[in-house]
C-alpha cells in the first residue's frame, strides 16, 4: 500500500516538475505508437473493407487468419521482426534494428490485424445495399468510401482505439526490436520494465500511471469523436 501511495506521489512529482526525460519518453511513446496506428489504419481499413464486401475464394480463411492475428502475442511479432532486421538477417542491410522505425514496424504489424478485424465487422454491420444506393445517386468511388466510413464511424474509431491501446501498452516487441536504448528507443513500457528490474518501484509505478493517463486522454478524444451524434 505504501508503495502504491509512494508511486502515486512520485508520479505527481515527476509530472509536476516537468521532468525532461519523462516528457521525452511520453512524446516518443506517442509518436511511435501514433505513427504505427496511423499506418495500420491506412493499410487495415481498405483491407477490412475488401474482406467484408468481397466475394472471393478463401475469404473465410483470410478472416480467420485476421481474427487469429488480433490475438497475436506481441513478443512473437517482435521476434520475427528482429530476425528479419537483425544485422545478419535478410533485411539487416537496412540498418533498422534498434531504431524507432523498427518499433513502428513491429507495432504496425500488431495493430493491423486489429484494425482489419474491427473494420470488417463494422462494415458488415452496414446495410448491404448502401454502396449501391450511393453509386446510383452518383457518388464516385472516393465519395462512396468516405460516406461509408462515416456510416461505420463507431466501428472504425473502435478500431483506432483497439489498435492504439494494444501497441501503446505492449512491451515485448518494443523491447526486442527497439532495444530500450535510453534517449532513443526507450518508451513508457520499456522504461517501466527497466525501473522495475532496478528496484525503483515508485518510479516504475509512476510511469505506469503516466501510461494509463496517456491512454485515457487519447481514448477520451477518440470516444468523444465516436459518440458525437450525426446531424
Amino acid at each position: 500500500m505504501s508503495d502504491l501511495a509512494q508511486g502515486f506521489a512520485e508520479a505527481l512529482r515527476l509530472l509536476g516538475r516537468g521532468d525532461a526525460e519523462l516528457w521525452s519518453i511520453v512524446l516518443r511513446t506517442l509518436a511511435i505508437s501514433g505513427a504505427a496506428t496511423l499506418l495500420a489504419m491506412v493499410a487495415g481499413v481498405p483491407l477490412g473493407y475488401a474482406l467484408a464486401r468481397g466475394r472471393f475464394h478463401g475469404r473465410t480463411f483470410l478472416l480467420a487468419l485476421v481474427n487469429t492475428g488480433m490475438g497475436m502475442p506481441p513478443v512473437v511479432v517482435g521476434l520475427v521482426v528482429w530476425l528479419l532486421l537483425t544485422r545478419s538477417g535478410p533485411f539487416g542491410g537496412l540498418d533498422l534494428i534498434y531504431t524507432r522505425r523498427a518499433m513502428v514496424l513491429a507495432q504496425f504489424l500488431i495493430a493491423t490485424p486489429l484494425v482489419i478485424g474491427f473494420t470488417a465487422a463494422s462494415v458488415q454491420a452496414l446495410p448491404p445495399q448502401l454502396p449501391d444506393l450511393l453509386i446510383s445517386l452518383g457518388a464516385n468511388r472516393l465519395r462512396t468510401l468516405w460516406i461509408l466510413s462515416r456510416e461505420a464511424k463507431l466501428g472504425l474509431l473502435a478500431a483506432v482505439m483497439a489498435g492504439f491501446g494494444a501497441i501503446v501498452s505492449e512491451v515485448g516487441a518494443s523491447m526486442t526490436v527497439g532495444g530500450n536504448l535510453r534517449g532513443s528507443t526507450r518508451v513508457l513500457t520499456t522504461a517501466i520494465v527497466t525501473e522495475t528490474s532496478r528496484g525503483n518501484l515508485p518510479v516504475a509505478l509512476a510511469l505506469g500511471l503516466v501510461l494509463l493517463l496517456l491512454a485515457f486522454l487519447v481514448n477520451l478524444v477518440l470516444t468523444a469523436l465516436q459518440q458525437r451524434r450525426a446531424r
Binding site: 446495410p127 448491404p128 445495399q129 448502401l130 449501391d132 444506393l133 450511393l134 453509386i135 446510383s136 445517386l137 452518383g138 457518388a139 465519395r143 460516406i147 456510416e151 450525426a230 446531424r231
Partner: protein
C-alpha cells in the same frame, strides 16, 4: 426519356439471369415489370440503373449508356430494402440531392415539396432508420422522386408494408408518379399492383420476356400458358385446345366453350355462394347467386366461359 435494351445478357454465378433481345420503355409511360420471384426483375432495374454490367448488349437511356458513360446518372432507384444512411429523413434526402448536383439553395424547397406530396412532411426530422415500414417506404419514394430523374425505378414499392398503409399508398402512387416521374419502371410480383399502377406490362420469367406491351393488350392475348397463369387466368383443356378462363369467367349453363364441372363443396359467403369443384384435373371455382340450392358433392354441372381466350 426512352429506355431501350438491346440484346442484353446478364450472367451471375455462371448462369444467365437476364436475357432480353429487345425491349423499350417509352418516355412518359409507367411500366410494370411483372413476374414470379427470381425472374430477373430486380436485375433488369439494376441494369437500367447502371449498377450491373451486361456481359453483352447495351442499355440506352435517351441516347446515353448508363453502364459505360461517365457522367451524371439518369435513373433514380428506390430499392426494395429501403436503405438509408444514419440520420434524419431530411439528411437522407439532402445527401441524395447533393450527390445529384442540385445546388444547395434549391434543396430545401425540393425536399419540402417531395416530402409533402409523399405525406412525410412531419417525419423529415425523424431518424430514417426508425420509421415504420409504411413510413420508410414513403421516405424511400420521396427521396427517389425528389431527384425528378428522367427515369424512375421502383423495386417492389408496396412489399413488406402493412395492409392499411399499402392500400393508401396504392391509391396515391399513380398521382405521385404523374407529378414527379416521367418514365417509370416498377417491379412487382403482384398482379393487382401491376394493373393498378402501370399502363404497360412486361412479363418476365426466368430472365426472359414472355410478353410486353400495353396492359390491356397483354391481358387480352396472353399468348401462352405461363403468361396466362401469371395474369390470373385458369387454363383448361377443351376439345379445340387450351383455353384461358379469366377470374370469375365461369358461368352455369350451356355455351361456348362448354365444360363439365364436378362439384365438390359450396361455401356461403353471405352475399354470394362460392362453388368449388374440378374440371378434369384443374380446380376451379364459380360464383352462384345468394339463395341458390347448392348442388350436392359429385354433381356434374354444365358450365361455359364466354370471356375466355384460346391459347395456341
Amino acid at each position: 426519356m426512352d429506355v431501350t435494351l438491346e440484346r442484353v445478357l446478364v450472367f451471375r454465378g455462371g448462369r444467365s439471369v437476364l436475357d432480353v433481345s429487345a425491349l423499350s420503355f417509352l418516355s412518359g409511360t409507367t411500366t410494370a415489370v411483372f413476374g414470379p420471384n427470381g425472374a430477373g426483375k430486380t436485375t433488369l432495374l439494376r441494369v437500367v440503373a447502371g449498377l450491373e454490367q451486361p456481359v453483352r448488349g447495351r442499355v440506352l437511356i435517351g441516347n446515353a449508356e448508363p453502364a459505360r458513360d461517365r457522367g451524371p446518372p439518369r435513373a433514380a432507384i428506390a430499392f426494395q430494402e429501403r436503405v438509408f444512411v444514419g440520420g434524419s429523413v431530411r439528411r437522407n434526402m439532402e445527401l441524395a440531392l447533393e450527390l445529384r448536383g442540385v445546388p444547395r439553395a434549391d434543396r430545401a424547397g425540393r425536399i419540402a415539396e417531395a416530402a409533402a406530396e409523399c405525406g412525410i412532411g412531419m417525419l423529415l426530422d425523424r431518424p430514417a432508420r426508425q420509421l415504420s415500414s409504411g413510413e420508410a417506404q414513403r421516405a424511400n419514394l420521396a427521396r427517389a422522386l425528389a431527384l425528378r430523374a428522367p427515369v424512375t425505378l421502383l423495386d417492389e414499392p408496396l412489399s413488406g408494408i402493412d395492409r392499411i398503409a399499402r392500400t393508401q399508398l396504392l391509391d396515391e402512387l399513380p398521382r405521385l408518379l404523374a407529378t414527379f416521374a416521367t418514365t417509370t419502371l416498377l417491379v412487382t410480383h403482384d398482379r393487382e399492383e401491376a394493373f393498378r399502377l402501370a399502363d404497360h406490362l412486361v412479363v418476365l420469367v426466368d430472365g426472359m420476356v414472355l410478353a410486353a406491351g400495353p396492359k390491356s393488350l397483354v391481358y387480352r392475348s396472353p399468348g401462352n400458358r405461363a403468361v396466362a397463369e401469371l395474369l390470373g387466368y385458369t387454363v383448361l383443356t377443351h376439345r379445340d385446345g387450351l383455353v384461358a378462363v379469366p377470374p370469375s369467367g365461369l358461368h352455369l349453363g350451356h355455351g361456348s366453350p362448354g365444360f363439365v364441372l364436378t362439384a365438390e363443396r359450396v361455401v356461403d359467403m353471405g352475399n354470394h355462394m362460392h362453388l368449388i369443384g374440378r374440371i378434369g384435373p384443374v380446380r376451379v371455382n364459380l360464383r352462384l347467386a345468394p339463395c341458390t340450392t347448392p348442388p350436392p358433392p359429385g354433381a356434374m354441372l354444365d358450365v361455359h366461359a364466354p370471356g375466355s381466350v384460346p391459347l395456341p
